[in-house]
């Protein structure tokens, strides 16, 4: 028999084994979704009622009211300052932490504890951290900045460490072989390999801090969030709309700028 003609046994062989665990898991997820929505009272009636209410809210938001632009501008600028400061301080703290947490450069008894610190920074949502800081150091922008510094460290120190763990150790080995010490190895073998990714992470964190800084105000930690929350409570929905539009404009602007910077770095 020639090799190109399938034998009868070959026709019966299975090329792809059926994945029963995956099929069962999908079935279980669908069943759980149906059960959970009935428990929560999520019905088509409830959805229709909610949509009607939503329509009334939208109607009261139009047209947006920019009369109190002074208040709006003040809040936005404070949010911007919180975001920029928190990003700068967070990055400054994350650089050494990221190096210490990288398991290919630091011994385990350093990287382990440092990773734990970073994990703690990540584990609490930044709004909860902001509430803690408001209680601890009082209302205002300081609490918001501190909360976002913690969030930034939790996020970018981990990304820094992961980027460092992916570098080519061959280049590190070569620089070590010249007799370079730790700092020179970092400057000549590690940093060149990770610099462009680090800048990407920093821009991403700045974006994310801009968004987050608009929210910490709701718990009294400074910025436009406080103004937004007050407007909600007074049912000034047209002013709410003005604030939301301003936030969206700011975030869009930030995305455009950081996108340009990232493209230029590539």
């Amino acid at each position: 028999m020639s090799a190109t003609h399938p034998s009868p046994e070959a026709a019966r062989r299975v090329a792809f084994a059926p994945n029963w665990p995956m099929r069962l898991a999908l079935l279980a997820i669908v069943a759980y979704a149906i059960w959970a929505s009935s428990r929560l009272g999520l019905s088509w009636d409830r959805l229709g009622h909610g949509l009607g209410e939503g329509g009334r809210l939208l109607a009261r938001m139009v047209p947006p009211n920019f009369e109190r632009w002074g208040l709006l501008l003040e809040g936005m600028l404070e949010s911007l300052q919180i975001a920029v400061l928190a990003s700068a301080i967070g990055i400054a703290i994350s650089l050494p932490l990221g190096v210490l947490a990288a398991r290919n450069l630091s011994p385990w008894w350093i990287s382990g504890p440092v990773r734990a610190v970073i994990a703690v920074c990540r584990s609490l949502h930044y709004v909860i951290v902001a509430i803690l800081f408001v209680k601890a150091i009082g209302f205002g922008a300081l609490a918001g900045t501190a909360a976002l510094v913690v969030a930034s460290v939790g996020f970018i120190a981990k990304l820094f460490a992961e980027a460092i763990e992916e570098i080519s150790m061959k280049q590190v080995e070569a620089i070590r072989a010249t007799g370079a010490g730790v700092m020179k190895v970092l400057a000549y073998a590690v940093l060149p390999q990770v610099a462009s990714r680090f800048i990407g992470f920093c821009l991403y964190q700045l974006d994310s801090n801009l968004r987050n800084s608009t929210l910490v105000g709701i718990v009294g930690a400074g910025g436009i969030g406080g103004t937004l929350f007050a407007a909600f409570k007074r049912f000034d929905y047209d002013f709410v709309a003005a604030i939301l539009l301003s936030i969206i404009a700011l975030i869009f602007l930030a995305e455009i700028i950081s996108g340009r910077v990232r493209a230029a770095l590539r």
């Binding site: 061959k170 280049q171 010249t178 007799g179 020179k184 000549y188 060149p192």
Partner: protein
């Protein structure tokens, strides 16, 4: 295999030794030595080629010398300095006296050719000079001189990842010589190159190290190239030295002992 098939006393031993290795053992896992008591004295000039099958510990041997790999026991002396057991600053001062050329070049890809060559001075200049690229004028002059010598005079400002394999290894040689090393270790420097480039790079390595009086230890798979450029061949198998002599003395039966089998010859 334990008996050394020494064909003739290596001529190198008559000269002053740059490097002396005695009783070198290396175990990555306890009880399974990769190097089983290496004794080797390397003359202060000329090329010593180490041949042997993959996995026999040639790379480990070279890396034990500049302590990229930690020897388990034994002595390694570089012109009188005991290298095993050195730590911190002493280790760095010893490393800068030993140049190394790697199989995959190990250039810092995102730095320029000039930065890669000057990184050979990292053991000598203070951190701030390295960070700000404020190298002493003499270093920069030597870097340009070496780039001319390796045939890359126009490439100083190009990034290392824009170079071809042969060009990268030339930069690797310039970086190693930038250290003004007392010995140069070359770990399979031509194995990633095409045959013609391999010869060109080896020719260059031989010429430049002879001009600067730097002795070379080279791990190499290509026996013909080893015979052509080395004044001494060291054959390793199973973690031991089983041949040590001039290239003329290396016979077919030695190669069979080193690599095993005979069908490939």
């Amino acid at each position: 295999m334990s008996a050394t098939l020494t064909a003739a006393p290596p001529p190198a031993t008559r000269l002053e030794h740059a490097l002396e290795i005695r009783g070198l053992f290396k175990e990555y896992t306890a009880g399974k030595p990769v190097l089983k008591g290496i004794d080797l004295a390397v003359a202060a000039e000329g090329i010593t080629a180490i041949i042997g099958p993959s996995g026999t510990g040639k790379s480990t041997l070279l890396r034990c010398i500049n302590r990229l790999v930690e020897p388990t026991r034994g002595e390694i002396r570089l012109r009188g300095t005991e290298l095993t057991g050195l730590r911190g600053r002493d280790l760095r001062l010893a490393r800068r006296r030993i140049g190394m050329v790697f199989q995959e070049y190990n250039l810092v890809e995102r730095l320029t050719v000039m930065e890669n060559v000057l990184s050979g001075r990292l053991g000598y200049v203070p951190f701030w000079r390295a960070w700000l690229r404020k190298y002493p004028e003499a270093d920069i002059q030597r870097a340009f001189m070496l780039l001319d010598a390796v045939g890359l005079p126009e490439h100083a400002t190009r990034r290392a990842d824009a170079l071809s394999g042969g060009q990268r290894q030339r930069v690797g040689i310039a970086r190693a010589l930038m250290q003004r090393p007392e010995i140069l270790l070359a770990d399979e420097p031509t194995s990633s190159l095409d045959p013609r480039t391999a010869v060109e790079v080896l020719e260059l390595l031989a010429k430049l190290t002879a001009a600067e009086n730097v002795p070379v230890i080279i791990n190499i798979h290509n026996v013909d190239l080893a015979k052509r450029y080395a004044r001494r061949i060291v054959g390793m198998a199973g973690g031991s030295v089983i041949f040590d002599g001039p290239p003329e003395a290396l016979q077919t039966h030695h190669l069979q002992a080193i690599y095993g089998g005979e069908d490939w010859l």
